[in-house]
């Protein structure tokens, strides 16, 4: 029987899949995927925190614009956000590297989702905590910063990790604006070799799966551990 699959295309290009032309050229492949995901995750952690706090502000003129923005972004496909960034940013600020365009789009998109996690985490803290803190004489921003957020953040950790998993998957869309992360590298190699699309896409699906599954498992483990600690 003729051999159905030929995985030599993977072994031949393995380094290229992993880090692109890194030591001699720009980072690519899995390395760039992780870079995009990690940087966007850190930025959208702060973005989500700010948006989340604004969206539960006491002042309507702060709350409503924040809510409108969050719902606007959540109502759009990520691809649309990337296109907006890709066409809007150069018009506003001149030329920007594609990597940064994608990081900004991912950050904007993920911040909107993270803000919901932050709000849920804050609302999960019993009201008595806030009341006790206010009666000890703390100002409302101090209550938030020293009492509510530190406890709320702990409950948010598993959801943050899940969001990071979504981010790893979402970085594949960077392909559309020509950022050479894993999916883009795969289509490049596919176009060059022509004959092994099945092998290539199965391989990168497995790579993504390993990355995402590791973090999904981590999030489950954290969820159990943190809730166990809470019960004590």
């Amino acid at each position: 029987m003729e051999q159905l699959f030929n995985f030599s295309v993977i072994t031949d290009n393995f380094t290229y899949f992993m880090i692109g032309r890194f030591p001699h050229g720009p980072l690519g492949g899995v390395g760039l995927t992780l870079y995009l995901a990690v940087v966007s995750c850190i930025l959208s952690f702060f973005g989500g925190m700010i948006l989340g706090l604004l969206s539960i502000s006491r002042f309507p003129f702060v709350r409503y614009p924040a809510l409108a923005f969050i719902n606007l972004v959540r109502g759009m496909p990520l691809l649309m956000v990337i296109f907006w960034m890709y066409f809007l940013m150069p018009a506003l600020f001149g030329k920007i590297a594609e990597n940064n365009t994608v990081i900004m789009a991912l950050t904007l998109f993920t911040s909107a989702y993270m803000s919901r996690i932050v709000v849920a985490g804050i609302e999960g803290i019993p009201k008595g905590q806030t009341e006790a803190a206010i009666s000890t004489g703390l100002k409302s921003w101090q209550v938030m910063l020293y009492i509510v957020l530190p406890q709320g953040l702990r409950n948010m950790i598993p959801s943050f990790v899940n969001q990071f998993v979504s981010l790893i998957k979402d970085t594949s869309l960077a392909f559309i604006v020509g950022v050479s992360e894993l999916t883009h590298v795969a289509t490049q190699i596919n176009n060059r070799t022509m004959a092994f699309p099945t092998e290539i896409f199965i391989f990168i699906a497995i790579i993504y799966f390993i990355l995402c599954y590791a973090f999904t498992s981590l999030s489950r483990w954290l969820e159990q551990r943190l809730s166990w600690n809470k019960a004590i």
């Binding site: 795969a186 699309p197 799966f209």
Partner: protein, 235 residues
């Protein structure tokens, strides 16, 4: 930005308007076909996930984890570029003779979404008290028939809101089909942009369409939650 002149007339009438409308229709068609298939597939996977036989349960679990933890874009590329080596020739020929881009996108969206729907259905089923199943079994129903007549009809009622949200996700996810040349909403917006250089107008139009879709669907879900599910609790 400062020397950009807006020209909304290009997207409100004429050729480009027709393009955008046809894009919207394709998006809705793709989402509707996929959600129906994904619901059926998701139902099957959910029942397998709760089956007694270990291999069946394990298979369903592996299916869920694999398709939930790989990017949709990669799955679309796999079905579009790479599926010919694993599919039988008959199916391949049939797929190629139809609109292959659409079919590949629909298959990828169906399988990706079915994994999420299966989990929604499972949590719906788990919310039904165990006694229901025990009562059905002692009344002589087989496991599958008990699922079919007793458990699933109740579970689906609770599962409708998450399912409708999955439809919304699907409609947004279907924008990825543009990468393999399905002429849906985002593709057409991009197309209008490249023909006219009026990117702001074209993307605004597409964004508004997605927003209206999401606002309408969210409102429907909220109404259902208030009217139907609360009513259910009260009785």
């Amino acid at each position: 930005m400062l020397n950009y002149t807006f020209d909304w007339s290009i997207i409100t009438s004429g050729k480009y308007f027709d393009w955008l409308v046809s894009g919207l229709i394709t998006t809705l068609k793709l989402s509707t076909v996929s959600i129906i298939l994904a619901f059926i597939l998701g139902l099957i996977i959910a029942v397998m996930r709760m089956a007694h036989s270990k291999p069946v349960r394990w298979f369903a679990h592996a299916y869920l984890e694999f398709f939930r933890n790989t990017p949709l874009l990669v799955q679309i590329f796999f079905w579009y570029f790479g599926s010919y080596k694993i599919l039988p020739t008959v199916i391949n020929d049939w797929l190629v003779s139809t609109n292959f881009e659409f079919a590949a996108a629909a298959i990828a969206l169906t399988i990706y979404t079915s994994a999420f729907i299966a989990e929604d259905i499972r949590s719906g089923v788990l919310s039904i008290p165990k006694e229901q199943m025990e009562a059905a079994r002692s009344a002589g129903f087989s496991y599958l028939r008990a699922m079919q007549y007793i458990i699933l009809p109740q579970a689906v009622r609770i599962t409708i809101p998450p399912l409708v949200n999955q439809f919304l996700n699907l409609a947004k996810n279907s924008s990825l089909a543009m990468t393999i040349g399905v002429m849906e909403m985002t593709y057409q917006a991009r197309q209008v942009e490249s023909y006219t250089f009026k990117g702001f107008e074209a993307f605004t139009a597409a964004t508004v369409v997605y927003l209206v879709l999401s606002i309408v669907i969210t409102a429907l879900v909220n109404t259902y939650n208030e009217k139907v599910l609360n009513l259910h609790k009260a009785t």
